[in-house]
Symmetry: C2
Subunit: 535 residues, 2 copies
């Protein structure tokens, strides 16, 4: 079952079919040695293959030797980046992709992949790396569609969709045990490939213009040396970085999902090392960028893979297939491969995140919508970059305008709450302000302006208490702002006090002369502060 999948993703990446098989052999073994998940299977996967096509399509024509060579370099660079991130324990960087952005990116990629494969179902050429380009070429060349190809392609798609849902109940009705029926249902794609290949051969459909996989060299993966041209490295580095990050995030989330089911744990930094060596292995054995894939890992998982040796068996099986079975797939129609891709990736498409984020947070909704639109209109690389930048900008923007509240005493208690949300008592001489964010360079000036604004309209004011219960850190810029606030308030005859300062923040303030220069005091609790100042 991995063979048609590997061929299909090579086709998606615009590479010769055998590279898909090559990319599945050595990387599996290397990951089994260096990775931490017992069930994860690495190899070509849909989104990374699409990103590979987008990256090397910019610098070489598909089908040329340069194109294949660029794929090796891309795998090698991705491998080096992943390995370096792992060795320097920088796995946390992957956390900067927010869940909604990843989800939006995967959905948009799924649509792009499905649409990009329509050309193979129609039997026409339709190049392009985004919806606009592909749509235009489909529209222009659509009239040349090959009827025999369309027939094979559409019937493959229909059969595969039905196989997902309807095959198992149908088999059970024929009297098979549920277990046997389940196993046979999963072989649906293999059946489609076998039937389509047999039909194409027996009906001589190549004569009718059906494109087939054709000659695939028999034999083990070749030893290849990626180019060390600095020009090529320079032009692929950005793409390699994006592929590494997306591949890592996808792989880790698959590995974590599977590990959680068995109460195992995986180590993200060691995963980086595993994926890095796997990609370097792909670069030296005629492959292209690989990562842990959900579909191929589930096969392992269902087979009850408990040790890394499972990977070695898979690799051995694929190696034998590469040596023996390749002549049999000469007549496999590209339309059927495209159909397996389309059916597989449409399961990635999931718009529920749009509704969820719309209800929960408009900022997250904006990030996921932008990611989807940019990916569809400008391609995968712009899409994922836009998503990451937008997430970070939104976070910075939010924390640069922190929620602040003037607080007052809830009568009869020692609690102090927002004057706008609760019935509280305040005084004209004492102003208590709570800031619900750590103070750092991006919000330091905001705080200054905010406090000056609050102080301006109160002629009787004598004390300002800054309630620090939600301030988890104060950086150098914010410390300077506090000093400025202290000086300004002193010149107005108002003293500045702090209350409920956290341990780590207090430790740091004690290393400066700020506490000596503070016109007021530091109180353990807000209540003590108010009691002391109002008497």
């Amino acid at each position: 079952m991995l063979i048609p999948q590997s061929l299909a993703y090579a086709l998606l990446a615009g590479l010769p079919p055998q590279t898909g098989i090559y990319a599945s052999i050595v990387p599996i073994v290397l990951y089994a040695i260096f990775g931490t998940s017992r069930t994860l299977a690495v190899g070509p996967v849909a989104v990374v293959s699409l990103m590979t096509a987008a990256a090397i399509g910019k610098i070489a024509e598909a089908g040329t030797a340069d194109y294949v060579a660029a794929a090796l370099v891309l795998a090698f660079l991705s491998g080096l980046i992943l390995l370096a991130l792992g060795l320097f324990r920088l796995g946390f960087l992957a956390n900067f992709l927010s869940h909604p952005v990843i989800s939006g990116f995967i959905t948009a990629s799924g649509i792009l992949i499905a649409v990009s494969q329509l050309k193979n179902v129609l039997g026409i050429d339709a190049p392009g790396h985004n919806l606009v380009e592909i749509g235009q070429s489909l529209f222009t060349n659509g009239g040349q569609a090959n009827m025999a190809t369309v027939l094979i392609g559409v019937s493959s798609i229909v059969f595969l969709f039905w196989a997902r849902k309807g095959l198992m109940p149908a088999l059970t009705r024929t009297g098979l045990s549920p277990r046997t029926a389940s196993t046979m249902a999963k072989a649906g794609p293999v059946a489609a490939v076998v039937v389509a290949t047999f039909a194409t051969w027996s009906l001589d459909l190549v004569e009718s213009g059906v494109r087939v996989v054709g000659d695939v060299p028999q034999g083990l993966p070749p030893l290849t040396i990626p180019s060390f041209s600095l020009d090529l490295w320079g032009s692929l580095l950005g793409s390699a970085l994006l592929i590494s990050i997306i591949g890592f995030v996808e792989s880790v989330s698959v590995a974590q999902t599977l590990a959680a089911k068995k109460r195992q744990r995986i180590d993200p930094d060691q995963e980086l090392v595993g994926l890095g060596t796997a990609n370097i292995g792909a670069a030296f054995t005629g492959g292209f960028p690989v990562t842990g894939g959900f579909a191929r890992s589930v096969v392992n998982f269902d087979a009850g893979a408990e040790t890394p040796a499972a990977g070695a068996y898979t690799a051995a099986g694929l190696a034998i297939a590469a040596m023996v079975l390749t002549p049999l797939i000469y007549y496999l129609p590209q339309a059927t491969l495209a159909a397996t891709i389309i059916v597989a990736v449409l399961s990635l498409v999931d718009f529920s995140m749009l509704r969820k984020t719309w209800n929960y947070s408009k900022a997250d909704f904006f990030a996921v919508t932008t990611t989807i639109l940019v990916t569809l209109v400008f391609g995968v690389e712009f899409g994922v970059s836009a998503g990451v930048l937008l997430s970070i900008l939104i976070h910075l923007y939010k924390s640069s305008r922190p929620h602040t509240a003037e607080v007052g005493q809830v009568p009869g208690t020692e609690h102090y709450r927002n004057v706008l949300r609760h019935e509280v008592t305040t005084s004209a001489e004492v102003l208590s302000i709570r800031v619900d964010e750590s103070l750092y360079f991006a919000n330091a000036r905001f705080l200054e302006d905010h406090i000056y604004g609050l102080v301006a309209g109160r002629p009787k004011l004598q004390h300002v208490i800054l309630m620090c219960s939600a301030i988890n850190a104060i950086d150098m810029s914010a410390l300077e702002s506090l000093e400025a606030i202290n000086d300004r308030l002193r010149s107005l005859g108002v003293s500045l006090h702090l209350s409920e300062v956290k341990g780590p923040v207090m430790d740091r303030l004690k290393r400066t002369d700020f506490l000596d220069r503070l016109t007021g005091q530091v109180f353990l609790t807000q209540h003590q502060a108010v009691r002391a100042l109002q008497d």
Copy 2:
């Protein structure tokens, strides 16, 4: 006094001397109309002039018409960027430059400017945009130093340094009133210029190889139209952005310092509009990028400028000077102008931030050191970019690994504090965790791992309480992590509770089904939670 300064900064930017005067006339008037500070004076300033030289030096030879044209485009683009930021009220973006980074950048720029002017003091050529390049050319060409030039340059520097500190006391000793002495002392640079010019003329030092300002066209600023070549715009856009940001930050901090002394307020967004129109004005009147400068604003301030009309008077004075005085400065030696620059910028150099940040925060220290080193070694544009990126990365890194604490009850009170810092009581069935940071995509996975790690070693555990007093926001990614934690704990037979959730956070959670799916409860206070669960 503004005339030698304007000439000097034109020299620093590599432009003809008159552009410095042109850049000081119309921009002052436009800023007076659109800006908010009553005392700020815009015109060429040291750091922005250096950045101008770095930006246009990449695309044209100094001294050519292309170079002058590029300066106009740079001013025009900076103006457009500032205006757009102002109209869209994006002044807050300037907050993303942390104080230590700005301070480090200004210090490093001051050093770079001083070193870059040594060539004029020595009377040699020494091009370069960073310490390495300038150092190499100074070393190579140092042997050709012109003795008469060195004499003028060094004596100018010595006199100007002495004028800063020693001139006023000396004048007072001669019997002048302190007020008159202070005014005369401030005219020190003018005296240096006059004496040096007279000496060069009377001793015919041009024959001895002393470079002078030379012919400066007499007349008002010309009307110039910046080029609209898209190629040129593309290559200058990045530099224009950096110049806008640095110019804005510098100008706003000068304006705020002066406004604070008079209890006035300035509006950063309106400031952007004022600076934007000033730069567009400079682009159309033969100038180059301008911003609010400290030295020229202090002149206004000391003169008691109370209305924007002060700017108009200054502009009129400079216009008259441009028409009448330019023949008088033919013999002004470039070495003396370089000396005024060197003495002015060395006052910008301030390494005290290194010591302050070292004591207070190693992360800030790292940011400021890197900014200084990158600026010196790679030039101003790399320096400021590195500083901004590093500040943001450090902030993201810190907030991606939030401070968390297991908390317990301080005996006899209703307070719950960190078990590692205080003597508190805990129980084997209930685990209370306080997270001192808002939950968002960058720390969501950290929280998951952290809680799973804490839960792992406690077989008797029945309840986990997440104390949310310092959680100011929960984004979509973090909500999904909380759902995952809830599901995982349920499968372990442990229920998850929340306590002390803030109003805005609770409002948002209520819009989801998270609270229905939560295995435990939401408690108003941590104490209520522990009391309810331990009984």
